[in-house]
């Protein structure tokens, strides 16, 4: 055995545990799910006939699944930009050389370390029509307006946020932004701290304002970080489940029935594992397509920025 082949053998041995782990716990379930998606696979029925792509064709014709796909896309289209932009702005604020910003960073990170189930319960109470915190705050706002004799800016104080379609989706988006603010902010802060101070000094010498420094120094140099945050946030948004399960169960009127919740209902309420697997592959395809588009778009933008 030559030295080179010995070296290769050792390398394979070293990566074997991780490779086996990935093969057994990641690759094999995906392959098995792919196999299930080609069968009519009811969990309680012994016969599981091969149906080819029939599950996927059924999905394409299923108005409820199309509704779930639409809801997911709406959630991603609204939630992801809001989350990324708000995290970037907060990161810019906590990167200022001010006393006490460390405390603010800690506070912003706290929701991320809480159990999503517990947090969802709290949000249920916050959004309740009677005595809920959201309606109490709106009542306080109304009282403030009454105190200064301002008319026309009052809000209803008995809104059932989780029983009205638009409000229910908005509530889920708000919760998604709130939970993910800390982790995304930390990544942006790390990116901002990696930008050399000399570039800002040069920008000041060129007479740049704070906004122009942010626009022409911070944003371009944060592009790789932004790409990472954008892709991970998009994947997280496509995979939203716990808040939907805890707050709305897909309602009202299926307005928050997102794909992952639809998969859960198909697999564990209707017990149609084959159909649920097919849905999983559709979701995987959606995530891959959108993530690839984001990569392409931002890399293209990066090239243009470099050309400038």
């Amino acid at each position: 055995m030559t030295d080179r082949s010995k070296h290769n053998w050792r390398g394979y041995a070293l990566i074997a545990p991780a490779a086996i782990y990935l093969a057994v716990f990641a690759l094999a379930p995906i392959v098995f799910a792919g196999w299930m998606s080609l069968h009519r696979w009811h969990l309680l029925k012994p016969e599981r006939p091969f149906v080819g792509l029939a599950n996927f064709i059924t999905l394409a014709q299923d108005p409820f699944f199309r509704n779930a796909v639409w809801n997911t896309l709406v959630f991603v289209a609204v939630g992801v930009p809001l989350s990324v932009v708000s995290s970037l702005l907060v990161a810019a604020l906590v990167s200022q050389p001010l006393r006490g910003v460390g405390l603010f960073r800690t506070v912003f990170y706290v929701p991320a370390v809480c159990s999503q189930v517990a947090i969802s319960m709290v949000w249920t109470w916050i959004l309740m029509p009677t005595n809920g915190l959201a309606n109490s705050i709106l009542a306080g706002w109304n009282a403030l307006l009454d105190g200064v004799h301002v008319q026309g800016l009052h809000f209803a104080t008995d809104t059932n946020f989780l029983e009205r379609p638009g409000f229910a989706m908005a509530s889920l988006v708000a919760m998604f932004m709130w939970i993910g603010l800390g982790p995304r902010m930390i990544i942006f802060v790390a990116g901002i701290q990696n930008i050399p101070e000399t570039l800002y000094e040069a920008a000041v010498l060129d007479g740049c304002t704070t906004w122009r420094k942010f626009r022409h120094v911070t944003l371009p140099l944060l592009l790789p970080t932004t790409l990472f945050v954008l892709v991970t946030t998009t994947i997280a948004a496509f995979q939203i489940f716990t808040p939907v399960f805890m707050l709305t169960r897909g309602g009202p009127q299926r307005s928050t029935d997102v794909v992952l919740y639809h998969i859960y209902a198909e697999a564990w309420q209707k017990l149609e594992a084959g159909m649920a697997s097919a849905m999983s592959f559709v979701l995987l395809a959606m995530i891959l397509v959108v993530s690839a588009a984001q990569f392409r778009m931002l890399r293209h933008g990066d090239g243009e920025e470099a050309a400038e």
């Binding site: 603010f104 912003f108 929701p111 947090i119 709290v122 916050i126």
Partner: protein
């Protein structure tokens, strides 16, 4: 103008921090309330309903929730509890004050100890006998539906 910029940054950070932390404060506040209680209001979130023992009256006096009496003669002892209302229930009609009576009869002396309870609580009577003689230990316990046994 630097101070104005810093003040604006602090104001924005404080506003965002408040909106981040308020749901968690709400979570802590709701955890203080009894499991079957109404959803707390904003003003009553940190003041849950609770029951509290107040005092012994009648043939015994005292503020401690524990009282020991000698069963050598008939006595009438009253225990009073009060319910402290939170903002969420203060506008509702008050529950009628509950009255309970229990009688302990001593087998040796035949003395009767009548225990009257006013309000949301009970008195647990435990006979004890040791070198100090036979006695009856009374313990005032606020209702179990309230989490706080606030002695």
């Amino acid at each position: 103008m630097r101070w104005l910029r810093n003040a604006t940054v602090y104001a924005l950070l404080t506003l965002i921090a408040a909106s981040t932390i308020i749901p968690l404060v709400w979570m802590v506040g709701t955890s203080l309330h009894p499991s079957m209680a109404q959803t707390p209001t904003l003003s009553g979130i940190l003041r849950p309903d609770k029951s509290r023992f107040v005092e012994w009256t009648g043939d015994a006096k005292g503020l401690s929730p524990e009282l020991t009496v000698a069963p050598d003669h008939s006595q009438r002892i009253e225990a009073t509890f009060v319910t402290i209302e939170s903002e969420s229930t203060k506008d509702q009609p008050p529950e009628p004050t509950r009255e309970q009576t229990q009688v302990y009869r001593d087998a040796e002396t035949g003395a009767e100890i009548t225990i009257l309870t006013h309000g949301a609580g009970t008195v647990r009577a435990t006979p004890i006998a040791d070198e100090a003689g036979r006695r009856l230990r009374l313990r005032a316990v606020p209702d179990s539906k309230y989490y706080f046994e606030n002695y």
